[in-house]
């Protein structure tokens, strides 16, 4: 319990102060479901969660703490952890969707620039633009892999479903 509190305080010190994140979470979920961009909601949720690695540590501490205390404290702790984990999953899903969209846009643009195949003898400005698009595609692909890993980490927390909370 003390470890969870200390960890949560460490993360909160690093956070940018935000208003109640619930509205931003709802807006981000809506944007993700509709496949549209909502940078403001994304930033609010990301600011609330703070550094993802530190937040993952906090969630693990919270789960451990929940096993050391009885109800209703354990219920409250698990609920607290679940809200944060779901927000992290939502953020990762939203980021992945945006990255995949950006990657596909860049790929389509490479085709439109007539740079999708060899032998085009494109001007040097097009070469630079193609190199930038290639770099953006590679960076986005690598970031998608990181987000997938984050979701796997969240799955590994093995949170009990809401209705099964003892």
């Amino acid at each position: 319990m003390a470890a969870y509190r200390a960890s949560a305080e460490r993360v909160s010190v690093l956070q940018i102060p935000t208003a109640d994140p619930r509205l931003a979470i709802v807006q981000l979920a809506d944007a993700t479901a509709r496949g549209v961009q909502d940078s403001k909601a994304r930033e609010e949720v990301a600011s609330w969660l703070g550094d993802p690695d530190a937040r993952m540590g906090t969630l693990r501490d919270g789960l451990s703490a929940a096993h050391t205390v009885g109800p209703p404290m354990s219920d409250a702790l698990l609920n607290d952890v679940r809200v944060q984990a779901e927000a992290m999953r939502l953020l990762a899903t939203y980021d992945m969707a945006q990255l995949v969209k950006e990657t596909r846009q860049a790929e389509a643009r490479l085709v439109a620039l007539n740079h999708a195949g060899p032998g085009q003898n494109a001007g040097i400005r097009t070469e630079f633009e193609a190199a930038r698009l290639d770099a953006a595609i590679e960076a986005a692909t690598s970031q998608v892999a990181e987000e997938q890993e984050r979701i796997r980490e969240l799955d590994s927390l093995d949170l009990p479903p809401r209705e099964e909370v003892p």
């Binding site: 439109a112 007539n114 999708a116 060899p118 032998g119 085009q120 001007g123 040097i124 070469e127 630079f128």
Partner: protein, 341 residues
């Protein structure tokens, strides 16, 4: 082929194409098709085209090459090699980039048309938010060792701005270009001819996850430079518009050029549609290209992670300012192998 396979083993990203088809005016791809007014005979085309490329954190480079064979007449067969490389350093919202490409073209059956072309770019940029402001210069030097009077050089300082809003990209650029070529004087001797051009570029791009549309309008107002530029081909061997066709001022002209291209990538399919319209009003009745219309469609389908099948059809219609014209239609089918990222 062995060269490409060897390169594929060494380079992080490699592509090889093999294609076969036909075109109606193969001479249009030759650097100096001096007799193209007399008509052109259709020819079969077979080609092997390849590209190896690598990219570092702030650098990129590679080399492309092609072997084009035409039959039954082989005078437009071509071997080409194109090394290229660049570096772009970014520090906060500022960037600096420089790069160069070299395009070596050798026509074994028409050596006088063989040339080497160097293009160099140096540029600095500022990137506030989703916008980019750029200032730089491009220099081109093209040499024909067997026909020195066809050689030319250009230098083009340019300033430009680009901004992105959601899926829309808007770019504007303006440049001044100075060019130097050769002309034949009254005594029949070769003489230097210098010219200049004021150029503009307006670009509009729309990108969606499955398709992208690129539109550009490029006006040019050219002054002086008596070199006749009609001998320079309008299109590269793969059918792309060759910017060198506009390099020389040819006695002065006003030109409008519009490019539209679209890339569509639904699943294993890739479709590219390109179109170009170019209209030039020349100050002199020199052998300058007056109008150009071009359209092409390329469809590719992935057969596996590394292999794709593609087909392309295209048509270019070109008319000289003083009347004659030609139409070059191309169609080919091919296979493309790719390795690496």
């Amino acid at each position: 082929m062995i060269l490409w396979l060897a390169a594929a083993l060494a380079a992080p990203s490699t592509e090889v194409q093999m294609l076969a088809g036909a075109r109606t005016a193969p001479e249009a791809t030759v650097e100096q098709p001096s007799e193209w007014e007399g008509g052109s005979r259709p020819a079969g085309v077979i080609a092997s085209i390849g590209r190896v490329a690598w990219r570092g954190k702030s650098t990129w480079g590679g080399v492309g090459g092609a072997a084009w064979g035409t039959f039954p007449e082989s005078n437009t067969s071509l071997l080409s090699m194109t090394p290229r490389g660049g570096i772009e350093v970014r520090e906060g919202a500022l960037s600096a980039s420089t790069g160069a490409t070299y395009d070596l073209r050798w026509f074994p059956g028409q050596v006088t048309s063989s040339s080497g072309r160097l293009e160099v770019l140096a540029e600095v940029g500022a990137h506030p938010g989703t916008s980019t402001l750029r200032a730089g210069a491009t220099a081109i030097d093209r040499r024909y060792p067997r026909q020195k009077e066809w050689s030319f050089s250009t230098i083009e300082p340019e300033v430009g701005a680009e901004t992105t809003w959601r899926d829309v990209r808007l770019g504007l650029a303006s440049s001044m270009q100075w060019n130097r070529g050769r002309t034949v004087d009254a005594a029949g001797a070769s003489a230097l001819a210098t010219g200049s051009q004021v150029r503009g570029r307006a670009e509009l791009g729309l990108s969606k996850p499955l398709w992208a549309l690129e539109f550009s309008y490029r006006p040019i107002v050219a002054f002086e430079g008596q070199s006749e530029d009609a001998a320079r081909p309008q299109f590269t061997p793969v059918g792309a518009y060759a910017d060198d066709a506009d390099a020389l001022s040819a006695g002065g002209f006003v030109q409008h050029r519009v490019n539209v291209s679209m890339g569509v990538t639904p699943g294993p399919w890739t479709v590219r549609v390109g179109g170009l319209g170019r209209f030039r009003v020349s100050s002199e009745a020199a052998a300058s290209f007056g109008r150009t219309v071009h359209g092409d469609v390329m469809i590719e389908r992935k057969a596996s992670d590394h292999l794709a099948v593609f087909g392309r059809v295209g048509t270019s219609a070109v008319q000289l300012a003083n009347g004659p014209s030609y139409v070059d239609s191309q169609a080919w089918l091919g296979l493309r192998w790719s390795w690496g990222p």
